[in-house]
């Protein structure tokens, strides 16, 4: 949440889908598990001894909540008054998943921006989620919209702590962020409110903020945001990948030189956890820092950011997944891939089909998802959003992703659901199946997992980060091999110093958690501030006074004044209308310009009036008077009084700070004023 120029901006509105692992999957096999569970509950409730045992023992599938799942959205989102949000920026498809919860709110009236690709892919993902969720609905029967019973059940003591932690959060206040899933209609009405943009398209909010999406490289359509306002510029950096093999790469040149950078790439925390486990050497850190100290040129730094090491590593990971799948297929086992990141799925599909072909393995590849067909068709019509190599393919007239050819050749089969009528006819094992969802609770993956879990030749490919304990719980005992792979989902921590010195921001905001992991104190270029959850951080304004543009027709009307005492200055009174256009203050000719310019008269004066010279000036106008010094006021003020006798009685009282004209006659008074105006500088 960001407050900029008085506008409140919310960035990203995701769902915590890992939280739904607390729910037990729809039991496909028989009523076996369900009945077991049911018999378990009354026992627990009435037997205190068993309760204790339960606390100590391991989690069992029975602990999982058997109900229509609810979904966990952004923490504390419900505490915000939806109608007070002015702008919502969505930086990637995942960040869109929770948005319908927000737009459902009748008071919600913010402008939502996201890239076209994010909108499309995100919408498909939400539709897929809803259709997968419907299976639950069919199983558990029509739900009721009031507070669900399962939360009450969970609050009791017998529930294992790890479950409770997921439901109630660390501090126990997460309960409010659980929501019942939206419907297809909600998605549609949500998407109607979205304004889709292209990369680097400038959109102007309310004439004040100019908002621009720049590619982040994380996924197709994922972006960082650049916000320009009259008081400075700000960039928001979400998880970014420097060199991507699917989406358009991280456009960091566009983020350069803004006043403030909000760095919100938390992915490095996950990778840092890996370093703690001793997988990646943490020494790299120092090397990078030293390269900076040696004051390399900008280009070199940028080049070091773009070094392909990471992306090569990513490619190796993908190739490894492929080879594992091929291996198990060779051995007669099937592979289930539950990765949901669309870019990676596309790459895997391409690689997998290629490697199967080169190995001349006749293993069918299935993609089972309600949106598979549309999604795969869509990804071949968006060359503008892809990385350079894939754009090159457009130029040479090839499809952006290889899957098109394989679908045509009937090597990849697309099915909307596992119970699709044609699936059975073309089904053959071993096979490789791409099926959502990575949480292993929703969609076709559940059924397939239940089918293959006992097969030691089969392989399950999981996305890293899923707490395998809770996630795999309902499927234990598992005999199948499990490959957990974590793909790069952000900038590596080691690269941060380099990145920041390339971007050259004046102020960098870093989440607390990241700052604890890396020492950025040695960075000279910018000041670094930390922000943390639930705390407001005020960032001082860096830019000096905002600039104003004055139209030439207004500027030509100025009547310039030279000052008597300061020759270096020229001043002019300025009257017009101040507008806000394109994020700039603009002064244009106002409506009553003509009328007011007639009676121009200096209203502010400075300097001091010497009584003698005033007397002289008055004399020239035919007014006679005499000076009387008086220090009647006991203060330090030194008053002079000029008595005027002719043509009418009057008095001028003057001191350091001011002059008073006392006269009964209007004309005399204005004459005196003119005389004073002639002596003082004024505007």
């Amino acid at each position: 949440m960001l407050n900029l120029c008085g506008f409140r901006i919310l960035i990203d509105c995701p769902l915590d889908l890992s939280a739904i692992t607390i729910f037990s999957p729809v039991p496909y096999d028989v009523g076996f598990e369900a009945s077991e569970y049911l018999s378990d509950v009354p026992l627990d409730a009435h037997n205190p001894i068993q309760k204790k045992q339960k606390l100590e023992r391991q989690l069992t599938p029975a602990d999982l909540v058997c109900a229509e799942p609810w979904y966990k959205t952004v923490k504390a989102l419900h505490l915000w008054e939806a109608s007070l949000i002015d702008i919502v920026l969505i930086s990637n498809p995942m960040g869109l998943l929770g948005l319908p919860f927000l737009t459902q709110n009748p008071g919600f009236c913010a402008k939502i921006y996201m890239t076209e690709a994010t909108a499309k892919i995100g919408q498909l993902m939400m539709q897929d989620l809803v259709s997968m969720h419907n299976e639950f609905r069919c199983f558990h029967g029509p739900g009721y919209s009031c507070f669900p019973g399962w939360i009450k059940d969970l609050d009791s003591e017998e529930v294992p702590a790890s479950l409770k932690k997921v439901v109630f959060g660390e501090s126990g206040d997460d309960l409010g962020s659980w929501m019942r899933l939206y419907s297809l209609d909600d998605i549609e009405s949500c998407m109607k409110k979205v304004q889709a943009v292209k990369f680097a398209e400038e959109v102007c909010y309310n004439g004040t903020l100019i908002i621009k999406a720049l590619s982040s490289g994380l996924d197709i359509g994922a972006c960082n945001w650049l916000i320009n306002g009259p008081n400075g510029s700000l960039s928001y950096m979400s998880s970014s990948i420097c060199v991507s093999h699917h989406a358009k790469s991280f456009d960091f040149h566009g983020l350069k030189g803004t006043d403030v950078l909000i760095y919100s790439d938390l992915s490095c925390l996950q990778s840092a956890e890996v370093t703690e486990n001793g997988c990646v050497s943490p020494d790299l850190d120092n090397n990078y820092l030293s390269t900076i100290r040696s004051d390399k040129k900008d280009d070199d730094l940028a080049a070091s950011l773009l070094n392909t090491e990471d992306s090569l590593e990513e490619m190796e990971k993908l190739a490894f997944v492929c080879s594992c799948a091929a291996e198990s297929a060779d051995a007669g086992g099937s592979t289930l891939i539950t990765i949901t990141r669309i870019g990676i799925v596309l790459q895997l599909l391409e690689l997998m089909s290629n490697s199967l072909e080169s190995l001349s393995l006749k293993v069918p590849v299935f993609v089972i998802s309600s949106v598979a067909e549309e999604l795969l068709a869509y990804t071949n019509t968006i060359p503008e959003w892809l990385c350079e190599q894939r754009q090159e393919k457009l130029i040479s007239g090839e499809p952006s992703f290889g899957h098109l050819k394989f679908i045509k050749d009937k090597k990849i089969h697309l099915f909307p659901a596992i119970h699709s009528p044609n699936l059975i006819t073309s089904w053959q094992e071993p096979c490789i199946v791409f099926a959502p969802h990575w949480s292993l609770r929703l969609g076709p993956s559940v059924q397939l997992l239940q089918r293959w879990r006992g097969d030691p030749k089969s392989l399950l490919v999981l996305e890293g980060g899923l707490s395998s304990g809770l996630g795999l719980l309902p499927f234990r005992p598992i005999a199948m091999k499990i490959l957990q792979c974590s793909f790069l989902s952000g900038i590596r921590l080691q690269k941060l110093p380099t990145l920041f010195s390339v971007l050259q921001q004046k102020i960098v905001l870093i989440p607390d958690a990241v700052n604890q992991r890396i020492n950025l104190a040695e960075m000279k270029t910018s000041s670094i501030l930390n922000y943390s959850e639930n705390k407001t951080l005020r960032v001082p304004r860096i830019a000096d006074n905002p600039s104003v543009e004055i139209t030439t027709d207004l500027a030509s009307k100025f009547s310039w004044k030279k000052l008597r005492h300061r020759e270096n200055f020229g001043i002019a009174r300025l009257k017009g209308e101040l507008l806000m256009e394109d994020g700039k203050h603009r002064l244009v000719t106002g409506l009553e310009q003509e009328e007011s310019s007639g009676k121009a008269r200096p209203l502010r004066h400075w300097g001091s009036v010497a009584p003698e010279s005033l007397l002289d000036a008055l004399l020239k106008m035919g007014i006679k008077g005499s000076i009387e010094h008086s220090t009647r006021d006991n203060d330090t003020k030194d008053n002079s009084v000029i008595h005027i006798a002719n043509p009418n009685r009057g008095l001028v009282e003057t001191s350091e700070i001011g002059t008073a004209i006392i006269a009964e006659d209007e004309n005399v008074a204005s004459q005196i004023f003119q005389a004073i105006d002639g002596i003082l500088d004024g505007i």
């Binding site: 068709a377 968006i382 006074n545 543009e549 000052l563 209308e577 603009r586 400075w606 006269a663 008074a669």
Partner: protein, 555 residues
């Protein structure tokens, strides 16, 4: 903009000389193209080169390698993507319709902005959308005016005519030849035919002559986002560029029996394959030649359209009997006069320049723009220079106090028949320029501070007799009385009353009990009259005197 080059669409008349420009002339500035243009222009260029060199035997202007090298220098841009070319120049592309990838270009240098439309189309056609642009503040709009006086009605009757002509031909066992450029028209007509074939359940094959058009279809399929809304919506279920009835043409099929429809390049029957096929098919009265769009004078296409010739000279001197039917497909991807007027009205630029088209009709349109829209319009001849004034802003830094003062509303209530509230705020500040420093706008209260001077307040004062000393001396009553008087004479004045004082704007008056007041000019003692000691600032000079006069009347 001399160092920058933006290509708007991939028709030959726009990119035709690009490789020559970059590779032979040595231009090495940036070149921008939309994604489709970048994808499609190498095809067009190569085709053009082949026709020029291989078939017509002209000296080649550039080679295949030239084309490839040239295209490497091209930077692809997306719609609405804002590109900062250098410090001053900013460009942005807007959708123009016309052909796939055609864009209008918005360019901004400093504060001056122009739009160059290139070729555009203001109506949606079968596969492309209508031109779309934001409401921009422009100094200059440069618009094409190919059809400066034409106003076209609905397209449907013309589409139907075309379909019926083709249908009649194939139903009679004839062959229909549609010579067209690889891009745009072929796809549009083919969509039309493919759709019609489906509906009427016609099984006659539709052929595309060279790989060129088929390949172009491939691009169309990938570049769905540049097509019309209708196509975009449909493509999820079926990509409309996946033509169901379209097959590749083989040279041997020229003499194959039975009806067929053939799209052949190039258009206008100027050379190449389409001309060759024409030579074979023209003598049969069963056959049809459908000519889409415009044909340049001198081409066979132009001769066919001009009259109903019985024989036509081919370029190498051979004559061909023309007995086949000729159908002219009269829809063009260029905007008509109404479209130009609509766009001009929508953008309301400060100036308009018309380019491309026939002089007399351009002059007519110019008259229309000047008289109806009141926008200066120019029709420069080739090589003529037109100068227009450009927008510039004077830039200054504004102080916070000034900005704050501007943002507070100044409501005025007027009550004539209905209550009307108007916000009459004016930005009222002082522009200060110090030599060799940036101009600064400050609030008037800040001026002296900026100038390092001390304020000197000039005000007026007068202790005014308002009432003869009398019976009931009640200050409150007196003030009330005065205030009613003032409001009677000066309507709209906001008077604040207090126990023994009143205030109007900066005018302050208080009952003066002093025996001798400095501000009293007459020597009337306090015992004779009640005085109101007043002072007011120079800003309310007139107001002050008006009140004084009112109060004197009270005496």
């Amino acid at each position: 903009m001399g160092y920058n080059c933006v290509c708007r669409n991939s028709h030959m008349d726009h990119v035709g000389a690009l490789p020559y420009f970059t590779e032979v002339c040595g231009y090495n500035g940036p070149i921008y193209m939309s994604y489709p243009t970048k994808a499609l222009s190498p095809l067009m260029l190569e085709d053009y080169r082949r026709v020029m060199v291989d078939r017509r035997g002209e000296e080649e202007l550039f080679t295949t390698t030239h084309i490839a090298n040239c295209m490497k220098k091209v930077i692809a841009i997306d719609l609405k993507q804002t590109i900062q070319v250098d410090e001053d120049l900013q460009i942005r592309a807007y959708y123009a319709g016309h052909v796939l990838g055609a864009v209008m270009v918005y360019a901004k240098v400093g504060d001056a902005a122009i739009v160059y439309t290139g070729d555009y189309n203001m109506t949606t056609d079968r596969h492309l959308g209508a031109a779309k642009i934001d409401r921009l503040q422009l100094d200059l709009l440069i618009s094409e005016s190919t059809y400066a006086t034409t106003i076209r009605g609905s397209k449907y009757p013309r589409e139907r005519e075309f379909l019926q002509a083709v249908h009649k031909c194939v139903a009679g066992g004839g062959k229909a030849l549609i010579p067209s450029f690889a891009l745009g028209r072929a796809q549009e007509l083919c969509m039309l035919l493919d759709d019609y074939w489906e509906r009427m359940n016609i099984k006659v094959p539709i052929y595309f002559s060279s790989g060129l058009t088929i390949q172009a279809n491939m691009y169309y399929k990938m570049l769905i986002s540049w097509t019309s809304q209708n196509v975009k919506e449909k493509h999820n279920t079926h990509n409309p560029f996946d033509f169901k009835n379209v097959k590749d043409f083989d040279r041997s099929l020229i003499h194959a029996p039975g009806p067929c429809v053939l799209f052949a390049t190039p258009g206008m029957l100027c050379a190449g394959f389409s001309l060759e096929v024409f030579k074979h098919w023209a003598p049969s009265p069963l056959n049809l030649v459908a000519l889409p769009g415009y044909s340049v004078a001198g081409t066979v296409g132009h001769k066919l359209m001009a009259g109903k010739p019985t024989t036509v000279d081919l370029y190498n001197g051979t004559k061909v009997d023309v007995r086949c039917k000729i159908h002219q497909v009269a829809f063009s991807p260029h905007t008509d006069a109404k479209g130009i007027m609509d766009l001009t009205k929508f953008l309301s630029p400060k100036n308009v320049v018309l380019v491309h088209g026939e002089k007399p009709s351009m002059m007519t349109l110019k008259e229309k723009i000047t008289s109806e829209l009141d926008i200066p319009c120019f029709v420069p001849a080739n090589g003529e220079t037109v100068s227009v004034a450009s927008t510039t802003f004077v830039k200054a830094k504004a102080s916070d106090m000034f900005l704050k003062s501007c943002s507070s509303p100044n409501f005025k209530f007027s009550n004539s028949s209905q209550l009307r509230v108007t916000d009459q705020r004016t930005a009222d500040g002082v522009l200060v320029i110090e030599k060799s420093k940036k101009a600064k706008i400050v609030h008037q209260d800040e001026v002296s501070e900026v100038l390092h001077e001390k304020n000197h307040v000039v005000c007026l004062a007068y202790c005014c007799p308002v009432k003869a000393k009398g019976e009931s001396d009640n200050d409150v009553d007196l003030i009330k009385q005065l205030s009613t008087k003032i409001s009677e004479i000066m309507s709209g004045a906001q008077i604040h009353e207090a126990e023994n004082s009143l205030q109007v704007g900066s005018f302050k008056g208080a009952v003066c009990l002093k025996e001798k007041c400095m501000h009293r000019t007459e020597i009337i003692s306090c015992s004779e009259a009640v005085f109101l000691c007043c002072n007011w600032s120079v800003a309310d000079l007139e107001l002050g005197w008006e009140i004084i006069n009112v109060m004197k009347l009270n005496l």
